[in-house]
């Protein structure tokens, strides 16, 4: 891949990327979430077209306008989220994308071929089973066989181990080595350092859409990779005033929370946050942060453990009760959760407060007060909007986020929970929002900040917890020298005692 660039609505996802893969090797593609790994691979698989640059195979330029083209050139991809029809059998799913499939009853004739491939690569699979009966590991094998049967010489695996158990991961790696021995090329996208070191021959590190490092895996260790991935040795840029931390605001005691698939994704997390403090949760997303936040804000059941706010137990109370008790929440995916996009600005400005006495009596909303309040919110929090009578979806992401933050802060909550508050925002809005969080801290509030952006975490937080697979790998003060190992902790390979 030569000089590949791609941007989405002005945000550069890939900038001038040059990537090559040689025969008989496994290449690791390492980077934090949002570093542009998946975008780059989707370009190689033909799902996206690059804005500039081109792709060469064996020295020849090729055009990849769709996955059909890339399949013809021997490129196959296994996505992080499987693309299988749940109610169909394995054979039917494979027949669906198979070019040499028979016109009628394709699934019958294909069984033989599937079993051949499965023997050749030790990929055990039963073609008659329906996909919903399969474990994640088995479904992944179906995807791999599907790609191989379509003639893939180059196989792209996007975060393949994120859905697997450790035994399944070991099996997968054996399969991959077998494929490599038989001459296939493999690109493995991951943010887990150990995996890359274990299975890859070479590693390329992406950061903010650019390649920041390349190395044979024999020549590097975990610390090197962590540094390359995060882009620096840990830098402190403390602009915040020192604060005496005082009263305890919230105390979370050993909570266990289940995820959407009924698995425990938060397994016994405890922490306290004090007034005048920002407590940060670092970690790659998908390690239980979202579920933990939802449990604290009353959107998800706590299976066991206790959450105390001041002196009251708020475990498993309703979202409205918890909000009224003083826990405000800036949700992740601001448009999906934080606003009703089709309603006006002034409707959204009171989303969680419309039942408060200052905006309504028992039945009616006091629109005059609400509009006045919205005007104040817009000017206090620098929200740029043509007027308060526009649909909220017409605002830019940064302005929507300022509106949400303003709404949540304006009631001076004792605890503000902010999930990825600056994700996807431009520099100006990011800076503004961070300052607001610091202001909240100064005014005596407690802030729980969940972020993947380490710069943000370092800049704002007084204490930092690193979360990995539903647990804290350690809690560090902002000046703790061990912060330089935060990359290892995020990847789950270092746990601090106590």
């Amino acid at each position: 891949m030569v000089d590949i660039s791609k941007s989405f609505q002005g945000v550069k996802a890939n900038t001038d990327i040059n990537l090559s893969i040689r025969e008989g090797e496994i290449l690791g593609l390492l980077g934090e979430n949002g570093a542009g790994k998946t975008t780059l691979m989707n370009i190689l698989y033909g799902l996206y077209q690059p804005d500039s640059g081109h792709i060469r195979i064996n020295g020849k330029n090729i055009a990849l306008n769709s996955p059909v083209d890339s399949r013809q050139h021997g490129i196959g991809m296994v996505h992080q989220h499987f693309m299988l029809v749940q109610n169909h059998s394995v054979a039917e799913n494979i027949a669906l994308g198979y070019e040499r499939a028979a016109m009628i009853f394709p699934q019958r004739k294909i069984k033989e071929t599937i079993l051949n491939f499965s023997r050749q690569f030790n990929l055990e699979i039963d073609p008659d089973k329906e996909v919903w009966q399969l474990s994640a590991g088995e479904q992944q094998r179906v995807e791999i066989i599907k790609a191989l049967m379509n003639g893939a010489d180059l196989l792209i695996l996007d975060e393949p181990t994120s859905v697997l158990t450790s035994q399944e991961t070991r099996d997968l790696f054996l399969n991959l080595k077998e494929m490599k021995n038989q001459g296939h090329l493999i690109i493995l996208i991951s943010h887990k350092l150990e995996e890359i070191l274990e299975i890859c021959d070479r590693v390329t590190v992406l950061q903010k859409g650019k390649i920041v490092g390349e190395a044979p895996t024999k020549a590097v260790d975990k610390k090197d990779l962590a540094r390359m991935m995060i882009g620096r040795d840990v830098i402190f840029r403390i602009e915040k005033e020192p604060m005496e931390s005082s009263e305890k605001v919230i105390s979370v005691d050993n909570i266990v929370v289940k995820g959407d698939k009924e698995l425990e994704v938060v397994t016994g997390v405890s922490f306290d946050i004090y007034r005048n403090e920002i407590f940060g949760i670092a970690g790659v997303s998908g390690n239980g942060q979202r579920e933990m936040v939802e449990a604290i804000t009353g959107l998800r059941r706590v299976e066991s453990g206790r959450i105390m706010l001041g002196g009251t137990d708020i475990t498993n109370e309703s979202a409205r009760y918890i909000y009224n008790s003083g826990v405000a929440h800036v949700p992740e995916e601001r448009i999906k959760f934080g606003i009703a996009p089709g309603l006006f600005l002034y409707d959204n400005a009171i989303l969680k407060q419309h039942h408060r006495q200052k905006f309504s009596n028992k039945f009616f909303l006091a629109y005059r007060k609400i509009k006045q309040h919205t005007q104040n919110l817009l000017s206090d929090f620098n929200v740029l909007a043509p007027s308060i009578n526009v649909q909220t979806k017409n605002l830019s992401g940064g302005n929507i986020q300022k509106l949400i933050l303003g709404r949540e802060i304006s009631e001076s909550p004792s605890l503000l929970v902010a999930s990825h508050p600056t994700y996807g925002l431009d520099v100006g809005a990011t800076e503004y929002l961070r300052k607001q969080l610091l202001r909240r801290r100064k005014e005596g509030g407690a802030v729980l900040l969940v972020s993947e952006d380490l710069e943000e975490i370092f800049e704002l937080c007084d204490r930092i917890a690193v979360m990995f697979q539903g647990e804290f790998m350690g809690v560090l003060g902002a000046d703790d020298p061990r912060l330089k190992d935060i990359g290892l902790m995020m990847a789950g390979s270092l746990r601090l005692q106590g």
Partner: protein
């Protein structure tokens, strides 16, 4: 060639109006072709429809009569559709209202004066429609059963239940074996504006319903919660709105409003129960289009209800004068709905055609 659909973000009121005008025009144009298939001059037919409904005193009176149930059902549906609860079962909620109201009228009517029995009948009708509307709401919230299917299926159940009543236990002794209930006692029959079939009690209730629902949707806490749920259920959950309670109330009101219309039809027009299709000529379905044309604003429902009532009356007129089949009116309504929904799509999305760019 590639078709690209993107959100249109700058929708102004005049765009809404334009889309409405274009949709109606395109709908009428398409209907004109259908008239031509029958060998009828479309201009003549359309003129006939509108002169039949709005061109004479008789026509206007009939149009208002038919607009009464459409206003009631349509404004209730506007509320349900605001919450994105796709209630396709207003037809049977209306019939349940008629059944409950008629039972009260038949059994208590002979002993009570009109000032007491009439409100009681409307109350019973509201309860009947509301209960029937609550069933799909509970099914949806507790068991995630799609409300389109359940409301639609409940229509059939109610239809046959009503038929069972009139051929079985409720068949009237005075009806010589015909499958009708006995006539409602005089005290339970709604009085009419002289020289017309306009049962004004129901008309007043309909207008009151429109005003109340208009205030509820735009001015109250409850209406605010309904709009948030309809716009973004995730945000509603996040902001602590009680989804269960709100949906139940929405469907109780939506079904109840249809039930009121049922009482009006039974006690104002027919004075007894007979087959479901003669009690309601598809008002529950036509009202879906009424609510949609009104952009789910109860106040506009009055206008769109009059418009579709006019088409129903005018349709009857052209059936007789031009010899067109009875289904013409339904085709007319269906075509308009299709074009209204298409117009809405083009209003909310910007569609561009692009020839595939040649690379390399």
């Amino acid at each position: 060639m590639k078709i690209k659909v993107t959100d249109r973000i700058d929708i102004l009121p005049r765009h809404s109006l334009l889309s409405l005008v274009f949709s109606l025009a395109a709908g009428l144009l398409t209907i004109s072709f259908i008239f031509m298939v029958f060998g009828v001059n479309p201009f003549y037919a359309l003129a006939k429809i509108f002169s039949g409904s709005f061109g004479s005193l008789y026509g206007i009176k009939e149009t208002i009569t038919k607009a009464i149930p459409l206003i009631l059902v349509g404004s209730g549906l506007a509320l349900a559709f605001r919450a994105k609860f796709w209630n396709i079962g207003a037809e049977s909620q209306l019939l349940m209202g008629a059944i409950f109201g008629t039972w009260v009228g038949l059994n208590w009517g002979p002993h009570l004066p009109p000032a007491i029995i009439v409100p009681l009948m409307f109350l019973a009708g509201f309860i009947g429609g509301a209960l029937w509307g609550l069933i799909p709401a509970i099914l949806k919230i507790k068991f995630s059963i799609n409300e389109v299917i359940s409301t639609l299926m409940l229509n059939y159940i109610c239809n046959h239940f009503m038929t069972l009543l009139i051929v079985g236990p409720w068949r009237g002794k005075t009806k010589h074996g015909f499958p009708y209930t006995d006539d409602l006692p005089a005290s339970a029959a709604l009085s009419l504006i002289p020289g017309s079939r306009i049962h004004y009690a129901t008309l007043l209730i309909a207008i009151a319903t429109v005003i109340v629902l208009g205030i509820v949707i735009y001015k109250t806490r409850f209406g605010y919660e309904v709009r948030v749920i309809g716009e973004n259920p995730e945000a509603a959950k996040y902001s602590g709105i009680d989804f269960f309670k709100t949906t139940l109330i929405v469907m109780a009101i939506s079904g109840g409003a249809a039930g009121l219309a049922g009482v009006g039809e039974a006690a104002g027009i027919h004075h007894y129960l007979s087959y479901p299709e003669s009690i309601s000529s598809g008002y529950g379905f036509t009202a879906i289009i009424v609510a949609w044309l009104a952009k789910l604003n109860p106040l506009y429902v009055i206008l769109s209800a009059l418009f579709f009532a006019g088409i129903l009356v005018g349709g009857d007129a052209i059936q007789i004068s031009l010899g067109l089949p009875a289904a013409t009116v339904q085709i007319f309504n269906g075509t308009l709905l299709v074009f209204l929904i298409m117009g809405d799509f083009f209003l909310k999305n910007r569609v561009t055609l692009r020839w595939r760019s040649q690379r390399n």
